[in-house]
Symmetry: C2
Subunit: 339 residues, 2 copies
């Protein structure tokens, strides 16, 4: 058979269908029907009072470049899923389903199935489903062997029990849960420092770090679903901030009432990768806490009187945590003061 | 103030925040709270039996290149919204909310607010809400002044009344609703023909067409929500196919039982843009119906006995439609035969 006119224009529908088939095969194991048709279906069987759907969209950002450089495509999907989970979890919502958008210049079925396997792993580990998605072949948009990846999550909560932060008051405590690395933020700066300034490669090893640069930068964004669900169940949480783009400085004010501030003490061990990047890139303290998570991926606000309950619970789950700060009155313009 | 290290790496958080503020201001008019925080909230107040959420992800595809060439960015958002609506509508679902993912190389607040204004217009016209979204600044991924745009829709239906196509039988009729142009499919081929082969520009005028090439190619993807909702209400619809990527050939089998085929008669006037593209590009009849919608954007399957009811209803709404084919037994491998 001769190559079709459409294929000559850079789009190969058959190869696209082949990629879709690979995804379908993987998804079958999750018991989800209808993938590859126009839409996905999620029967609402939840027994929940005052149900509210909580939804969020996100991308992996330029962390994808590390996947391109290392040729390791099976973790960025999990980064995306976990990022999205944390974004609805901060309001006390539980994930129901996920959809992805994957855009490439040319569809390579093997790379696509690697990417989707990461998404599926993230969904399975957090016990919810990949309901569908779009794989778009867009010649002239993306470089060869590059792609963009975005995700969309829908969760559910009781509208009268949304964790909004509105009851946070002076004297409340900040509990930090450690990050696993950069998560999905600060990669433009990290890449600039590592590859442009230091001229390192993903295979480089530096004294401060146990793994290669590529491995460090690909560390998977953590999901906080398990420990946070337990704390929510016990009604210990007054507010939460997922530390993503904008760091402490932009994310904590999203949940903190406007007339309050937080005093943060740097009591946790800042992971080597941040020390290394900030030193090599001459990043100021102030900027580092705006660009990176600096080792804390989730900040939880609790009432002082609940501290011992929280400690017992997290210790029981073998979860590391840090009592990292306290809520104070706002004195100047700043809501986030890092000592 | 000196430029921050992060800005030097190509990311400008302040400019990003400025774009987010513009979007927030626009969205305020829709009565949606919480945009710009981690997630969006949609209280489920629907009184519906056996509720099932129906969800779909999609992109605009390479139609975006036409927006880049013309500098007209306020319609691609509506393309995206309408495409997503049609993808859940084919199952009988009604849209609840929408989220977008917009990725650019550099954030230009004015262009971004143009894009989002199109999304908002699509949501308002179809009476549902933009609940949130992600605007990602990804230096090194996209060319200057280029972007990618994807959308996610969530709708709701009665799980026992899903329009699945499973009851389609021999003798049922195919009703076609006209498209407004290419919708969002076939743009890689169309651009190849128009710009590479014919060396035309978006401002070119050709004899066969009333508008410029750019205007023709930017025609907004239609939403079929209004006429189809009416037909669903009257219980006239047995199955539907949204004619998108893959044309008649790939989309009709998505709803048609495997042992049946359709005989399509080309009774509708094929719009000039398709005639022009197929002639200039020497696209075969077979391929044209796989790549383009050829003037029909939605195919509706009905029982013969409901034809007059359907005709009265659509005429009453001043909706154009075509009795375009019939369901037959499958004789060979092909499910879609175009006469």
């Amino acid at each position: 058979m001769s190559e079709s006119v459409y294929a000559k224009a850079g789009v190969n529908i058959d190869k696209g269908n082949q990629a879709v088939q690979k995804i379908k095969d993987m998804v079958k194991s999750m018991g989800v029907k209808e993938i590859g048709k126009f839409s996905g279906f999620f029967p609402l069987k939840e027994k929940i009072d005052n149900p509210v759907l909580v939804s969020s969209a996100d991308g992996v950002g330029t962390k994808l470049k590390i996947a391109f450089l290392t040729g390791k495509h099976n973790t960025v999907g999990k980064d995306l899923v976990n990022h999205c989970i944390n974004d609805i979890l901060v309001y006390g919502a539980r994930p129901l389903f996920f959809l992805d958008y994957l855009a490439t210049g040319t569809v390579e079925p093997d790379v696509i199935s690697e990417i989707v396997s990461g998404i599926l792993e993230g969904c399975i580990e957090n016990d919810f489903v990949l309901l569908g998605g779009e794989t778009a072949e867009m010649p002239g948009f993306y470089k060869d062997n590059e792609y963009d990846l975005a995700g969309f999550i829908v969760g559910i909560a009781n509208n009268k029990r949304i964790v909004s932060g509105e009851n946070i008051k002076k004297g409340d405590l900040l509990i930090g849960l450690p990050s696993s690395g950069l998560h999905t933020n600060g990669y433009s700066l990290a890449r600039h420092i590592v590859f442009d300034q230091l001229k390192l490669t993903v295979d480089s090893k530096v004294e401060e770090l146990e793994k290669t640069i590529g491995e460090e930068l690909l560390e998977v964004h953590r999901s906080y679903l398990k420990p946070v669900s337990k704390l929510l169940e016990m009604d210990l949480v007054k507010g939460m901030a997922h530390i993503t783009g904008g760091g402490f400085v932009d994310n904590i004010p999203r949940v903190l009432p406007e007339d309050l501030a937080v005093q943060i003490e740097r009591v946790w061990p800042v992971p080597g990768i941040f020390e290394f990047l900030c030193q090599a890139g001459e990043v100021s303290k102030e900027e580092s806490y705006r660009v990176f998570n600096m080792g804390i991926g989730m900040v939880i606000f609790i009432d002082q009187e609940n501290l011992s309950k929280l400690e017992t619970t997290l210790k029981g789950m073998k979860e590391t945590y840090y009592l990292m700060g306290q809520v104070t009155e706002k004195k100047g313009k700043k809501q986030v003061i890092i000592n």
